[in-house]
Amino acid sequence: MQNLMQHFEIIQKTPTLYALHVSIETLFNTLHHLRYQSDFITLSQLTCTDWIEEERFELGYMLTNLERNCNLMVKCFIGRDDVTVASVVTLFPQAEVMERELHEMFGVGFEGNDTLYDFALEDWQDLPPMRREFDTLAYVQSHYDFRDGRDDNLDVKEQIKIRKAAAKSAKEAQGGA
């Protein structure tokens, strides 16, 4: 790891977790180097975080070095709109489904991955739902009808008020006695 730290600006976050930020231009080559030259042979997770106020996504490739029992998260900022990143399926075949998920949930494109069809959503036409601007409540209100519930349904807030009032009067009665 020390050798690698001389070549890259790697930050140690915990005893077994390291992080490295790279540009989108050097992302694929860095991952290629780590995969074939530095024994980070496994991709465990591909993450995406939406920093909407900074108008960018942060991708995170969690690589694992099984010999040293450590994880290295290679992170990369990308724009939020119409951005395509080079697919890493040729380096890590398991990335195929991970990229498919991020494509559906965030709208990130992965060039070289030709299986970016539906993941968990079927015929989804709306905004990718994990983007921060996707309003879950507005979507639910416009697509579903609310049911009133059972006839004997209780107003929870009203019940709490009644319970608190009863406890208060019981306490006062106890104090008076």
Binding site: L17, Q45, T49, E101
Partner: protein
Amino acid sequence: MERKTITIFHGPQHPGITGNMSVELELTGETITKARTHVGYLHRGFEKLIERRTVIQAFTIVCRICVPEPDPNEANFALAVEQLAGIEVSEKATYIRVMVLEMARLAAQLLWMAGQSGSVGLGTVGQWSIYDRDLILDLFEALTGGRVYHMYIYPGGVRRELPEGFLERLGALLDYLQKRLVEYDRLFFDNASFQKRAIGVGVVKSEEALHLGYVGQVLRGCGLKRDVRRDNPYFNYAALEFDIPTQSGGDVFARALVRRAEMRESIKILRQVIAQMPTEGAIMQKLPKHRKFTLPKEDTYVAVESARGEFGYYMAGDGSEMIRRMQVKGPSLIHGFTLLESLLVGEELSNVALIMNSLGICPPEIER
């Protein structure tokens, strides 16, 4: 005569899986020529919901990410929040956490046994193992108030003190389960019906298992000694003695034997926990009120060993009381897609449920 290829959907409800997931199969006769996994039947949007909740509110959701095995989620959530917020946990709380996780592992293995035996038509095994799992759930109910979802491992410690006489009850249950494991050997693992169906079926090669990120019994069933509890110890696993069982066959039977041995190791760990449990000490650190509980603009990745393999959480804070991003990494995503789709090709239709069950796929954690 020309052989016809037909396409059928296996699932979304079938004995091979806990939850709903389907596999689109192309068949020539009884032989599978292509398999494609379909999920989406259980998408509840947990990761999205969590982004709009405070840390403490999000805690109530995470255990629901995997129904058969909720506790590793609670452990990961607590570990990630504690790491980001710089919270220390007492020794007693870590012992209790290990106890809960190992009880959960035993319960999950017993549930797996019911599914795996059901996939080969051995219904009696499931009746026994679900009964035994219920005895563990009784203890969970006494400890946490909940049988399946516990909401017990909390950032800063655990939520309740051990009830009086709890460790004695646990010790008695372990004595009982130790004897039952011998019965399970006779009924299930040594049963010729199961062995005939499981040996040589669903074989995973060790070289691809490492590269493609397989975890848990899939790795250990190929002879690879990997376990997060040993490789990157958390809580106080480093101080406990236990083995990492492995097998070399790589097939369904090898994975079953690994699980069998792991149940014995869990009992061994739980006995050590009972013997070493500190009698004094706080179980929970004092935490800020939930609106003042903020996470710094930092991120982390934590992982624990669930009953089905490495289970990780990526978590990023943004300086507010909300979690900016929490992404779950369970064993099921890679096992359910990358592994299953390739493993089923060339197999018989009757082996689909058998193979799926041996991989420990849990659809709710795929579509969080």
